[in-house]
Amino acid sequence: MSTTALKDRSQERQKQMIAEHFSRLARSGETGEKSVYTFVPGNLTELVRNFDLLPVLPEINALQSGMRGKSREYIGLAEKLGHSEDVCTYVKCDVGMMKSGNVGPTGERLPSPDLLLLSYTGCFTFMKWFELLRQEYKCPTVMLHVPYQADGQVTASMRKYIVDQLVKKVIPSLERASGKKFDIDKLREQMRASAQAEDDLVWVLKSARNKPSPIDAYFGGVYYIGPIFSAFRGTHDAVLYYKELREEVQERVELGLGPVTPEGPMEKEKFRVVVEGPPNWTSFREFWKMFADEGAVVVASTYTKVGGTYDYGFRHDPDHPLESLADYCLGCYTNLNLPTRVDVLCDYMREYSADGLLVHSVKSCNSFSAGQLVMLGEVERRTGKPVGFLESDLVDPRYFSAANIKNRLESYFQMVAQKRDAASSHSAEAAR
């Protein structure tokens, strides 16, 4: 089975990339390598790596803890330390992990940060989160303030505002943390690599326009965005990973195959849906299986754009490196205003020939959840397609009620099927 072998190749590479990265972090005490903690939306990975600094992404660690069944314990510990039940569970999971010895997803210890780089893209909690970390680690902190796209567009002054901060604040902080000088030529090289990987990622995501879709653009999608949204954008490894992934998906398209789910390859694609909102991580496989059992494939998702909306054409630009970093930060999904998000969802419904929209609302994340019901109603009105609403959380297992979610999903897909049947019997009658 060549497909399996090919599938394994990109997966294996990603696994290896992550393992090496965390092992470097674990050995940094001996090797003297320095680390920077930063967030996914609006991340400046190329810039961090320009100084040979190693990025650590607390959100990713939190979601990994959720997937590994550790988050309950970590959240419990954070609550014991005084964080209320209403605090974002990524934060509590991270605080709990930090207080439990800062052992990362690979079982190796994470180094304390040499710098906290806060890319502020509208999530107020990020700011509070790093306040907590700063208090704990007593390390330098630098904040990049990214203006919200309130009017749905990026202006020259917004771009300049960010570039100024990069030049005056962020780059000097990175120089101080690393003891190295900023190298713009290296950055241009990194950007070239970024753009190449971005091209391939977009190709992979757009492959879901095929019927059947060769990928699941949500549950599978979160694996595909792993390298580019975390520590690897702009690296040679990332370029290779996306090239391989593209080849594998290309082969699935040629063979007319559907996505591979936790239960094996999907036999028949019965429903194509767009999903808005992050996944649940503590019951990730169970959640995915609920879709797969119904023959439902997610053909487009907004969560896979939290680290950048590349499918709308943005690429890192070697000719304008700092400006394109600014545009990148401005364009991450949660920095878009509600009308733009509605436009994106409606575009996806059309572009990917979706049967409907499902919103997964997580109680932790207001950046995502605020306004979702209004968006839902608007997408329903504009597209005339059935919409559905699910509720749980990111990494707090107490908020994932499997029976309730399964019930809603089954009801939703039966509703879609019923509407489809009714529409086809009406058109059959009309033809008669």
Binding site: G377, N407, R408, M415, A422
Partner: protein, 436 residues
């Protein structure tokens, strides 16, 4: 005769609706058996088939030229006698089962005869319990028998020096087995004949109609399951439907101009929008927390030592608006006691609680796309007059004048929808068998 059935396995009760070939309702059955879904299903279906046979008797009488008024009168009387026979049969089973458990008790010497005497005393009350115009607390054997067993057994235990907690415990053990006994065609004939013997006023026409109806063979063509327990049913996946779809279709069947449906069941609340064919266009449900659903009222009733059906009428007597914010079932008891200690009246607090439930439902309705006329309220809570009153008021305040439908059979809405889906499935299977 072929029939199709829909079964709604709810969290509190299981309901079954049986339809004939023309998708007309033949019978309905309900049980509060919760020990296992398969049994609950069989019990509810047995009840629905019994009730279907009443429908068949009615049809036989009509054929024999008996007018509607007499038919109603005769059938009501016969139904009462039939239920009495059912009760007697269950009581005999209860006595046997209790006896079996009692013999294993340490003080069996005292307990076994005591149980016999309790059952005898209960049997002696049966005639009165089912006399014309008598007011029974519930239609479920567990409730009816429990409400008599416990006080009688307590009295006897005290007199004879038996431990009442043990004697009460025996009931809890035995009742599970008894309420899970299912009915079949033969049982119907037996009970019906016994009922006819007791019904002194039964006419020749009725006797003949009962005989003929009992002889009709009922053959199941298709069964669709819905409700919380649906996944555990031994049905193929195509015969299992979400309760959202079933409530939508059921409400449409009851009130064809329905556009918005609110269902408040035992542990969930659903706001559903349907089109002119009963097809669901959107829906919203409560999240993982079942605050403010039917069980909340059940809990309040227990806290107040009232029957569930007594809550609504008491709340309707309220003259003062007490604002209750929490619909958390766990906090309900504390909130209730606090209000009582502040000197609030029970009816005013209850009215506040009902309003709080409906306010939660209003938010789901808004999420699902608002309320459009006609608006149909279904589920167990639709039987509660205070909930209905609060809903009517809030709907008017928020959406203006609206036609509000509530069927006396609203608790069967989901099962009816499921039965209609079963009917369609049966049609499809038939069409596949006989090529046009």
């Amino acid at each position: 005769m072929k029939y199709t059935v829909g079964i709604d396995l709810g969290s509190t009760t299981t309901k079954a609706v049986v339809l004939d070939d023309e998708s007309k309702i033949l019978g309905r059955g309900i049980t509060n058996s919760r020990s296992n879904y398969k049994v609950a299903c069989d019990v509810a279906l047995g009840e629905a088939l019994n009730s279907a046979r009443f429908g068949l008797i009615d049809a036989e009488l009509e054929r024999a030229g008996v007018d509607a008024a007499r038919r109603t009168l005769w059938l009501e009387d016969f139904d009462r006698h039939f239920r009495e026979q059912q009760y007697r049969l269950s009581l005999r089973r209860l006595g046997e089962t209790l006896g079996r458990h009692a013999r294993e008790e340490a003080d069996a010497r005292i307990v076994v005869p005591l149980i016999d005497d309790v059952i005898s005393a209960m049997t002696a009350e049966t005639r009165e319990l089912f006399s014309a115009g008598a007011n029974r607390k519930s239609d479920f054997f567990r409730d009816l028998a429990g409400s008599r067993y416990l006080p009688i057994a307590e009295g006897f235990s005290e007199q004879r020096g038996a431990r009442f907690d043990r004697v009460a415990g025996l009931f809890d053990k035995a009742i599970l087995e008894v309420e899970n006994a299912t009915s079949d065609d033969e049982m119907f004939s037996k009970l019906a004949r016994a009922a006819l013997v007791e019904a002194s006023g039964a006419t020749r026409e009725l006797r003949e109609a009962v005989e003929r109806a009992a002889d009709i063979e009922l053959e199941q063509a298709c069964c669709v399951g819905t409700g919380y327990g649906r996944a555990t049913l031994p049905f193929p996946k195509e015969w299992i439907r979400s309760e959202i779809l079933c409530h939508g279709l059921g409400a449409h069947a009851m009130f064809p101009d329905t556009r918005t449906v609110l269902d408040i069941g035992g542990q969930d609340t659903k706001a559903i929008q349907v089109d002119d064919e009963g097809i669901v266009t959107s829906f919203q449900m409560n999240d993982r927390c079942a605050a403010g659903c039917g069980r909340y009222l059940g809990y309040i009733a227990d806290e107040m030592n009232l029957g569930l059906h007594e809550l609504g009428p008491m709340a309707c007597k309220s003259k003062r608006n007490v604002k209750i914010n929490s619909t958390c079932t766990v906090f309900a008891g504390a909130e209730l006691r606090e209000r009582l200690s502040l000197g609030e009246k029970r009816e005013d607090i209850l009215a506040g609680l009902h309003r709080a439930i409906i306010l939660r439902a209003m938010s789901l309705l808004a999420r699902s796309g608002g309320v459009k006329s006609e608006f149909t309220f279904t589920g167990g809570v639709a039987r509660n007059p205070a909930a209905v009153e609060a809903l009517r008021k809030l709907i008017f305040e928020n959406y203006g004048e609206m036609k509000l439908n509530i069927s006396t059979e609203s608790i069967f809405t989901g099962a009816l929808g499921a039965a209609l889906f079963a009917h369609r499935e049966a049609r499809k299977m038939q069409a596949q068998k006989v090529p046009a």
